[in-house]
């Protein structure tokens, strides 16, 4: 009898230890989010920073980006939007590498602390950037947006959050002076966005990329020029349409994003 029981336990132990496929992930799915923060104006930046501080948690919960499932990796990339042409992107990932583990262990693996620490650090850096004259001399939003999206994996689920007033102010377009109509926007693409970027962008879409863009439009804070926020919104809607981005949402703060 005892030998039978011992044998049974031995068999079960071997069986469980041998069943790695029971808990190991055969492949990891990717979920990416990109936070583009407009640093072209210090007052604007303060508004944006406050919005992130107050509502980032609820945004992550409502958008379900904060729910990391087993065998899933989440990456958050952060980049500033300003007058600089170059893209300075920072990223941090968390992932859950096993399945069928306890919920507690799963939550431990999905602890967002590294991402939040990175975000806090970047927000502090961007505050300095927002006070830099070179950064605040203008804004190249569309070009930087495409550059940033091209950094992502076309196969992953990408959500881009642009926190900006939406006012392009560069050598090619100045929305303070004139907001182009819907018909004029497609013609502006080639001048607004680098040709190589556009070419890469077309290829990016062909590879199956379908990013979701959430534009958190803040009112312009410049005292010298008043811009109709609705016109700005229409401009961006037309621009996104010209860029073949169909999954676009506009909001006024992170808490008002549709779930």
């Amino acid at each position: 009898m005892k030998y039978l029981i011992t044998l049974m336990l031995l068999v079960f132990t071997i069986a469980f230890s041998a069943c790695k496929s029971f808990t190991e992930c055969s492949n990891i799915s990717n979920s990416e989010a990109m936070l583009l923060v407009d640093v072209s104006d210090p007052k604007l930046y303060q508004v944006i920073r406050q919005d992130i501080t107050d509502n980032f948690g609820s945004f992550m919960q409502r958008s379900k980006l904060g729910l990391i499932e087993p065998c899933q990796r989440f990456t958050l990339r952060v980049a500033p939007l300003g007058a600089q042409e170059s893209l300075e992107m920072s990223e941090q990932s968390i992932q859950v590498t096993s399945k069928r583990q306890s919920i507690k262990d799963q939550q431990s693996q999905a602890n967002p602390a590294p991402i939040l620490n990175m975000l806090k650090t970047k927000l502090t850096e961007y505050e300095k950037l927002s006070q830099d004259k070179e950064t605040t001399s203008g804004s190249t939003l569309a070009n930087t947006l495409l550059k940033a999206m091209l950094q992502a994996n076309p196969a992953s689920d990408l959500t881009v959050v642009m926190m900006t007033d939406g006012i392009e102010n560069n050598g090619y377009l100045n929305l303070y002076k004139k907001v182009p109509s819907d018909e004029e926007v497609p013609k502006l693409l080639n001048s607004l966005i680098d040709a190589k970027i556009l070419e890469k962008w077309d290829h990016f879409l062909e590879e199956g990329a379908a990013p979701k863009v959430i534009m958190v439009l803040k009112p312009a804070t410049s005292a010298s020029a008043k811009v109709n926020i609705r016109a700005v919104k229409n401009y961006w809607a037309a621009l996104f349409k010209a860029l073949k981005l169909s999954n676009v949402e506009f909001a006024d703060n992170l808490n008002n994003i549709n779930p």
Partner: protein
């Protein structure tokens, strides 16, 4: 028409030559013309057919005689079969009578015993060594019914407990741990059942200690997690919003390695199979250091049971056993005799089958000969009819010829042949 003219001329010739057909004491005498027709080559077959018909008749007759001759051996074979069969009857009857006598004696004995107040046992004790060994062998087999009942109860209980506690269990435990926990629980329950069964058969202190410890382990496995959660609660989970909020000064950090709980609390929480393992170890130690004499004496029957509880009952049982054994032996003998009786008629049956086959062949042969004979008779009759027709035609022409000669017609009295005359001419037999 031409034939008629020829006949007419022939008749006139015969009348002129005074060659008149007629009958005398020797029979019918055909004239030359009639003879010419009767002797036609094609009518020669009448004689040939008749000879052949005669031969066939003889063959058929011989076959029939042979057929009749087989009746004797057939009768003999049947008689022999019956004789053999009947030969067993007296012995069979004798055995049947013996069986009746024995059954009557057994019934009388049972009635006597009942009158004395002794209820005879229905089942006779087998005293053969082989049967006792078989019984011992059977006892070694697992009681699958009990095992099945245990598995059913454990399955139902464990399913219910897991379903009720799943959400709580799932937070702290992976799927592997939950399954291992269930198995450990089942093992402990099984060991409790087993040792309790052993204890019923033979009480031992060590068994009772084991049962006490195992029940305590089961209690721990069921209730200790709940008690510990009350005494040493774990940190509650945070909502996703709170986890991702930047407002908190203390961002959710990785779990700290240190814990304010006593070591055994964390140890148990991480290794809740410990009670099951301890129970199992206890069981192994117990069975290793205790003797295997845990079966009761009555489970090992002696080859010759020499310890009757009641000598009278035992004696009655022996007596009944004697009667039942004798009855069984007589019934076996009866079955053997009846089988032999069936087999004994086998040889005579074979002979009859052979005779039957031979008779069948002869019957087929006779049928063939008869058909051939009938065909020949029909062919011969056709020829007979033809020759009669021609002779009748000659008669008509002859009469006409003689009617045209009034002188001759008064003097001539011709005779004409019948079928019998024709038969006699060809010297054949038709009957």
């Amino acid at each position: 028409m031409m034939e008629n003219i020829k006949l007419y001329n022939a008749a006139r010739q015969d009348i002129y030559l005074n060659d008149i057909p007629g009958r005398n004491e020797e029979g019918y005498k055909p004239n030359r013309t009639q003879r010419a027709y009767l002797n036609k080559q094609k009518y020669g077959a009448i004689t040939t057919h008749s000879l052949k018909i005669q031969q066939l008749d003889e063959n058929i007759s011989d076959l029939r005689k042979e057929t009749i001759a087989y009746q004797v051996p057939a009768d003999i074979a049947i008689a022999q079969g019956n004789q053999h069969k009947d030969g067993y009857n007296p012995e069979i009857e004798e055995v049947k009578d013996n069986i009746k006598l024995l059954e009557r004696d057994l019934k009388k004995y049972d009635d006597d015993m009942l009158n004395r107040g002794i209820v005879p046992e229905e089942q006779v004790k087998e005293s053969e060594p082989v049967k006792a060994a078989e019984k011992r062998q059977k006892q070694k087999v697992f009681n699958w019914k009990a095992i099945g009942a245990f598995l059913l109860i454990w399955g139902a209980g464990e399913t219910f407990m897991t379903y009720v506690q799943y959400n709580g269990l799932r937070y702290d435990k992976s799927v592997e741990s939950i399954v291992a926990r269930s198995i450990a629980f089942a093992v402990v329950l099984f060991l409790i059942h087993l040792v309790a069964h052993w204890n019923k058969l033979r009480r031992r202190i060590i068994y009772m200690i084991f049962l006490g410890v195992s029940f305590f382990m089961v209690f721990c496995m069921l209730f200790l997690p709940l008690i510990l959660n009350q005494l040493y609660p774990e940190a509650s989970t945070q909502a996703v919003t709170d986890q991702w909020s930047l407002n908190k000064t203390n961002v959710v950090a990785a779990p700290s390695h240190g814990s304010a709980n006593p070591f055994w609390v964390d140890l148990y929480r991480k290794n809740d199979l410990i009670p099951g393992i301890l129970s199992f170890l206890f069981f192994i130690i117990m069975t290793s250091f205790t003797k295997r004499g845990n079966k009761p004496p009555e489970e090992t029957p002696a080859p010759q049971p020499e310890q009757p509880v009641n000598p009278i009952i035992d004696e009655v049982g022996k007596r009944r056993n004697y009667y039942l054994t004798k009855i069984r032996q007589e019934k076996d003998k009866l079955a053997r005799l009846e089988d032999a009786q069936k087999l004994s008629s086998h040889s005579s049956t074979e002979t009859l089958h052979q005779i039957f086959r031979v008779l069948q062949e002869k019957q087929k042969k006779e049928q063939a000969l008869t058909e051939e004979r009938d065909q020949l008779v029909a062919a011969r009759q056709i020829l007979m009819n033809e020759v009669q027709s021609e002779l009748a035609q000659y008669e008509t022409e002859f009469r006409e010829a003689i009617n045209n000669d009034p002188v001759k017609s008064a003097l001539i009295n011709a005779g004409w042949p019948t079928e019998d005359d024709i038969i006699n001419f060809y010297k054949i037999r038709t009957k």
